[in-house]
Symmetry: C2
Amino acid sequence: MRLGKNGLIWLLLSLLLSMLPVGYTWAQLVERSIPAPTNINQNHCPCILQDNSVFFRVTAPNAQKVQIDLGKKYDMVKGENGVWTVQTEPIEPGFHYYFLVIDGVAVADPASQSFFGTGKMSSGIDIPEVGADFYTVKDVPHGAVSSKYYYSNVTNSWRRLFVYTPPGYDQARETRYPVVYIQHGGGEDETGWVVQGKTDIILDNLIAEKQAVPMIVVIANGNIRAGGGGYSSEGMAGFKKEMTQNIVPFIDKNYRTKANAENRAICGLSMGGGQSFYVGLESLDYFSAVGVFSSGIFGGIRSAGGAGFDAEKEIPGLLSRSGEFNEKLNLFYISCGEGDERVEFTKAAIATMRENGLKVESNTFPGGHEWQVWRKSLHDFASRVFK
Amino acid sequence: MRLGKNGLIWLLLSLLLSMLPVGYTWAQLVERSIPAPTNINQNHCPCILQDNSVFFRVTAPNAQKVQIDLGKKYDMVKGENGVWTVQTEPIEPGFHYYFLVIDGVAVADPASQSFFGTGKMSSGIDIPEVGADFYTVKDVPHGAVSSKYYYSNVTNSWRRLFVYTPPGYDQARETRYPVVYIQHGGGEDETGWVVQGKTDIILDNLIAEKQAVPMIVVIANGNIRAGGGGYSSEGMAGFKKEMTQNIVPFIDKNYRTKANAENRAICGLSMGGGQSFYVGLESLDYFSAVGVFSSGIFGGIRSAGGAGFDAEKEIPGLLSRSGEFNEKLNLFYISCGEGDERVEFTKAAIATMRENGLKVESNTFPGGHEWQVWRKSLHDFASRVFK
């Protein structure tokens, strides 16, 4: 077919019009990207390109300025029909909170699922990691996650917690199981380890592969203000009371647990890692395994312990009587993201503890202060505990 | 104290500055209102005044126009420091989806919890109803809600469903229970009856008061496109196959059910009411109780059956052989909100069915096409079924 001059201009114009600001046509974009698994309603965008950059798209004809805030803020560019788009830099695999910022107001992106994090409902984008299928639902026996209400005499209110029971729990009517108590981070709640963390899927897969023993996992809400909060033994007093006097007895009463320290572990991420450190190490009559994922208590963030972390001061005897702790602890585990500002402080604290004879198992994972590190930390911790 | 002229001007000015646009100071607003129970992070706004009007507040210094969309759109007014506010008219008690509209973009309000409804994450405001505490967590024995994965050969994917088990289920190891299969509405998913619907709390309270027999409630995702969807026997074919060939067998295999039609009910709201009508009445070898809440199949909305609803055509024999249906149905229940555009069509359809000898139990509740009506419908249905 031969085009006349007008035809050629028309063709060029329509090609230009069909281009998105970053240089793809819609068809090219769809071909070269996958929708984020966290999208809803069959939205294609946000979508992930081969280099793990993400293409965002928002219709906002009357907005003056639209941004994507992924920790780093990306200005979107207004195109045809009020459609704003931006392509980010390549992004780490795993789960990232993000916000859509419309004329300065940070909100959740209507194209995405929302998650409770950063103290409010946030968007999240889950970028698949090549080769990491340990948190993918597979054709293996599945456990269940139950929500339960219990009454707290610390907060004087009914509170919700989630309980993962392993495959076969309902059928094996006499079997008793060890229990992991796992805590979320600051600005999150009990939904964190269920939704973002995919605890049930990780445990189902581990148990199917016989990498972990069948266990119960209790996912409670750690936002207890009694005691003042903060990273110290005193600050954690309210949470400690809640855990040992309310949560553990409630679980032992309502589930077929092995109700002793030997078969109880406590672990958590960030704020929940700090809680596990203090409450776990101070309550070795309750717990024999402690996991601390990406905690700021060792230093690296202003709001927490800072570089002045002194293990002996925080937990008297932890260094000077390390043998006693070694005897009572079947597992003391510390992990951190390799890109997390806390990692060097964490390594230094581990080194000091080991120099003083304390047994510490540890690991680091690629990524920053984010859920992919915590999914891997749970995977790693659960494969080591109760063995 | 006597004020000089400057002092008086200063006093008036500071009074003016402390006034919010609708005429309250912040202290007055806090005194005269309660935060919505659906708020997060201890936000006071949105807050509910004594006449059930709602005061919304959003900080958006750079926005040109901000609205609250509660079905009706309210323009917010920009005040000091870029804070926009509006006080709505008095609003019906119960749960309402709403959106914050920033320069034309409808998003979830960061001050509120988000809920999957209207096809995306939406804000919701739950306005307490005086005297209605049937969906309040009380000091009664509590059941549990579990999430489970099952494989669907209709969608060829792993799908999640929720299962409510009544108090004592784990302990009463030989007891078997009847089962209600309950469906969400269009634009919603399996989280609807758990979160907005408060199914577990309603059943816990009903069972404690001996108004309902202990039962299992299965809350699956009804968004099955196979069969085409739509309000007809053909449109529901995919959902029917999913329910009878995948979901019911999965539940009977994994829970201690009374696995027969006598002890199975199906009900749902709006789209889920239509699904229950067609699938329930066509599958009386599976179900002996059918509940239809606020369905559009009888007419009243353009997208559904319209005024031309013909029960005999939709379910052959329903009118002409009503005796046969009466024999197999222990409960055929239809409800609707009194302010719902569907209500008159629903009443007409019920009248026709009754004229033809079909036994129909029915009820209406104050309110429109909303969750408060559906909570009450579940409460009513569960107190009638399996008796």
